[in-house]
């Protein structure tokens, strides 16, 4: 089942009077479009008065009607999905079951009613606890079984009575006034309005255990637009001295308006982009597809693992294998995809280094690794290390002298006057390209690599020991 509410409750506390605002307005506009269309006489669901047991239930529609409509109009194939999104729209406060406080959509004959636009979340409601107290108080004054307080509501009322002990008389008076106003209304209208009012409170003071959809991501709060800077009361109650601005609605700091300098920078940026050489989409698509296809055999979500995925089988052998000294043939194969892949894997890096040592040309890789290290050092160690690298690899008579073209050499030696973590960028790039085009290609053809790559193919005759021996002796 998709929607299960956990047994342990989130307790409503009257002291938490600042509930954060509704979600982003573009979402609400979209929902409102849907909700408007669904109530349309021609295109929407059949909303009607249902006769039941000596009484009439005005303005309702069944859950399954809503589910069917959502499936048709939002191109949903699975009724479960339609129920889920319907439940979310209900939880936001746009329609509700007439006989339940829990706002969810069921795919059956349960009756639902649509919320009045007055109560829509887009009106930026932030109802105060005094309003809620008035509402609960009013409910107790009306002698109707359908308006009896649920347990959690009775608890809430008790808490509010304690919290507002000193102004309870005021609240009581307001509740009485509301009851008087309500009595004047037509019976059918009252039924509808009462249910809509209850649904409003189900959104803003949800049943314990239900998600409070009025909670907002605090990162987005600052920029919420609330045209009503002053908190408004559902019952038109204005209290002495509480016409203050909501603490959330501090003057929103909008995007910085572009100054002349900003636009000048933008123009420079755009010109750089125009000069950029870009690839055609067809080439890009081919490149993305071939990369993904190459790695799909390594992707546990796409290809079954051998041994099994530890998370599904509860057996961590796969991990034990990977951390052992012997790389699998599949892993060794990956080193052949690109120099980047070989260097990314410590075992691949090791083997490549061994190969280069056998050719007496390991200084290039050792330089590249040293520069990678340099970039990862704490700031205070950088200058010294940069100097050390120069001494080891580039200075006159350096023990591990690398070959740089004169241009790079000049530039690098200039950089060393003020040594920093990026002093060797140019040189490192040059050396990387050299390794890629020259030594790496030979490495892939070498015995040391090929033996390891082919080894497992020859069957289970090779034990782990012998394989390690192969790696060590080559």
């Amino acid at each position: 089942m998709i929607f299960k509410f956990p047994p342990n409750c989130f307790f409503f506390s009257p002291s938490v009077s600042v509930l954060l605002l509704v979600p982003s307005s573009s979402l609400l506009l979209q929902i409102e479009d849907i909700v408007t269309l669904i109530q349309d006489e021609a295109e929407g669901v059949p909303i009607r008065t249902v006769k039941s047991f000596m009484t009439k239930i005005p303005s309702v529609v069944t859950g399954s009607d809503i589910v069917q409509w959502l499936m048709k109009n939002l191109a949903i194939e699975d009724p479960a999905e339609a129920m889920h999104i319907g439940s979310l729209i209900a939880a936001q406060g746009y329609f509700f079951p007439i006989s339940d406080h829990v706002l969810s959509l069921k795919d059956d004959g349960t009756f639902y009613r649509f919320q009045a636009p007055y109560f829509w979340p887009s009106n930026c409601w932030e109802p105060e606890n005094t309003d809620y107290a008035i509402y609960l108080c009013k409910r107790t004054m009306q002698n109707k079984t359908r308006l009896e307080l649920a347990d959690y509501e009775a608890e809430n009322l008790a808490r509010l009575q304690r919290a507002f002990a000193r102004k309870w008389e005021f609240i009581y008076m307001q509740a009485e006034a509301q009851v008087k106003i309500d009595r004047k209304k037509d019976k059918t209208e009252r039924k509808i309005l009462d249910s809509q009012e209850r649904a409003f409170w189900d959104v803003h003071r949800p049943v314990p255990g239900c998600v409070n959809t009025t909670e907002m991501d605090i990162r987005k709060c600052r920029r919420m637009k609330n045209p009503h800077r002053v908190k408004k009361s559902v019952y038109g109650v204005t209290e002495e001295g509480t016409q203050s601005q909501s603490p959330i609605h501090t003057p929103s700091h909008h995007c910085r308006k572009g100054t002349k300098e900003d636009v000048e920078k933008e123009i420079v940026f755009l010109n750089t982009q125009l000069d950029r050489h870009c690839m055609k989409m067809s080439k890009v698509a081919d490149s993305l597809i071939s990369y993904t296809e190459q790695f799909m055999e390594y992707d546990p979500f796409v290809t079954a693992m051998e041994p099994s995925n530890p998370w599904t089988s509860d057996d961590p052998s796969l991990w034990d294998l990977e951390t052992s000294k012997e790389p699998s043939q599949q892993r060794v194969k990956k080193w052949g995809f690109s120099l980047d892949e070989a260097l990314k894997d410590p075992a691949g890096q090791d083997l490549f280094l061994k190969f280069l040592e056998s050719e007496f040309s390991s200084e290039n890789l050792r330089f590249w690794l040293a520069v990678q290290d340099l970039k990862r050092m704490p700031q205070q160690d950088v200058a010294q290390r940069a100097q050390d690298i120069w001494t080891e690899f580039l200075a006159e008579g350096a023990p591990s002298s690398i070959n740089l073209d004169s241009h790079s050499y000049e530039r690098t030696s200039q950089n060393l006057k003020d040594p920093g973590r990026y002093s060797y960028e140019d040189a490192q790039d040059h050396i990387y390209k050299l390794m890629k085009s020259d030594s790496y290609a030979r490495f892939l053809r070498s015995n040391i690599y090929q033996d390891l790559l082919m080894a497992r193919k020859k069957g289970k005759s090779l034990t782990g020991k012998r394989l390690t021996g192969l790696m060590q002796s080559s």
């Binding site: 959502l70 191109a75 690839m279 992707d299 693992m305």
Partner: protein, 395 residues
């Protein structure tokens, strides 16, 4: 020259110097100018340069944008999903919840995997950071932080420390001790300082540097040991909500996404914004590189996820559906880049076929918004963090 008094019609940021002050509303030729009185004087003294008013600059910028769009469109000879028609359709994905991590008492806002592929660090609105062995469900460390809404957390590459931050505007590093009795909170060290909330943080291939993003509109690179600011990145015009480091061994770039609807690619060495993408219709909540580093995906409040290629310098796919109307908060790729996992504010995780553009699966289970999804380092599992106070492992 004495100060002239004038009737100020508007008050606001000067179009020349940007400072808020009473503005003189004058016209140069037919272009309106709103400068503060000082800048008007400066301009008058310099003599009017070749119509370089804000309006004419804006016009130049607009025409360059149009030209750039035209140039890019020329290269758009085919759509990704069209070329992808030739590849086989994926088999049915049967992902189930394999673990549920319970322990936080409020919304889980962020999580990160350890390189050992089984440990996880998570942070929550309850002000707590928990380090779990997700395989055994064992809680290995718990740290109580002084602020609530810890929106970002990251595991150090060595596995010996974690970083975190949020409403405190800082990013702190906490070394993980083997002694379970030690009070880790006491060893917390502030590294990054921003002027607004910390939205994201990541270590850069070593425990020694930290990259952060903030609600103050900037990203920054810090030296962990000294707390020194190594580089700052300016360009976003609103909160930066997310960042991701390029995966390549030779990479020196990262991508960031912000409330200004833009995704920017930055060079870590120079602080320069090297590429920018703006096609979302609302806040970009999350950005993540495709495994090769040549492309990235983003999730937005406009309920879509989009795929951008850096070589083509444009958006190459949009992942959307009529039935998905809630914002997408987080994305991550599977190891090969074939699948995109996206978490939404409608409590679900949709799994997209990156190349074909279709939805492959929908994961239900969480009871509130998804704040973060992350694939494990060896690609064997997906972890999701939610406002329902739990984390789930899917495989």
């Amino acid at each position: 020259m004495c100060d002239q008094t004038f009737v100020a019609v508007t008050f606001g940021p000067c179009e020349s110097c940007g400072l808020a002050s009473p503005l003189m509303n004058i016209y140069v030729k037919t272009d309106p100018l709103n400068y503060c009185s000082f800048c008007v004087e400066v301009m008058a003294c310099k003599g009017l340069q070749r119509g370089e008013t804000l309006t004419s600059l804006k016009n130049e910028s607009e025409s360059l944008k149009k030209k750039l769009e035209e140039e890019r469109v020329k290269l758009n000879d085919v759509e990704l999903h069209q070329v992808a028609e030739k590849i086989e359709v994926l088999g049915a994905l049967s992902l189930k919840t394999r673990r549920v991590l319970k322990g936080h008492s409020n919304k889980v806002l962020c999580m990160d995997w350890c390189k050992d592929r089984r440990r996880i660090v998570s942070s929550s609105q309850d002000g707590k950071l928990i380090v779990w062995d997700a395989f055994t469900l064992n809680k290995e460390h718990g740290v109580s932080l002084p602020c609530t809404w810890v929106m970002a957390c990251a595991y150090a590459p060595s596995g010996c420390a974690v970083a975190c931050g949020g409403l405190d505007n800082k990013c702190s590093v906490i070394p993980l001790s083997l002694d379970s009795n030690e009070n880790l909170a006491a060893k917390k060290k502030s590294v990054a300082m921003h002027t607004n909330y910390l939205s994201g943080c990541t270590f850069t291939n070593s425990d020694m540097q930290l990259l952060t993003s903030s609600g103050d509109g900037t990203c920054a690179l810090w030296d962990v040991e000294s707390g020194q600011l190594l580089q700052s990145f300016h360009g976003h015009t609103a909160d930066v909500l997310s960042l991701d480091l390029a995966p390549s061994e030779t990479g020196n770039t990262f991508v960031s996404g912000g409330s200004d609807k833009k995704s920017n690619v930055w060079d870590m060495r120079s602080g320069q914004n090297v590429q920018s993408f703006e096609s979302h219709e609302s806040d970009v909540n999350c950005v993540k590189y495709y495994p090769s580093g040549d492309a990235f995906a983003s999730a937005s409040d406009d309920s879509t996820c989009r795929f951008y290629d850096l070589r083509a310098d444009r958006e190459v796919a949009v992942y959307q559906k009529d039935s998905i109307i809630f914002g997408a908060s987080t994305v991550d790729f599977s190891l090969s880049g074939r699948l995109l996992f996206a978490g939404y504010n409608d409590y679900t995780i949709n799994v997209w076929d990156v190349l074909k553009g279709t939805r492959v699966s929908c994961l239900f289970g969480h009871e509130n918004r998804i704040s973060r999804v992350r694939v494990s380092p060896d690609g064997t599992a997906l972890c999701s963090a939610s406002w329902d106070n739990t984390l789930r492992i899917w495989a």
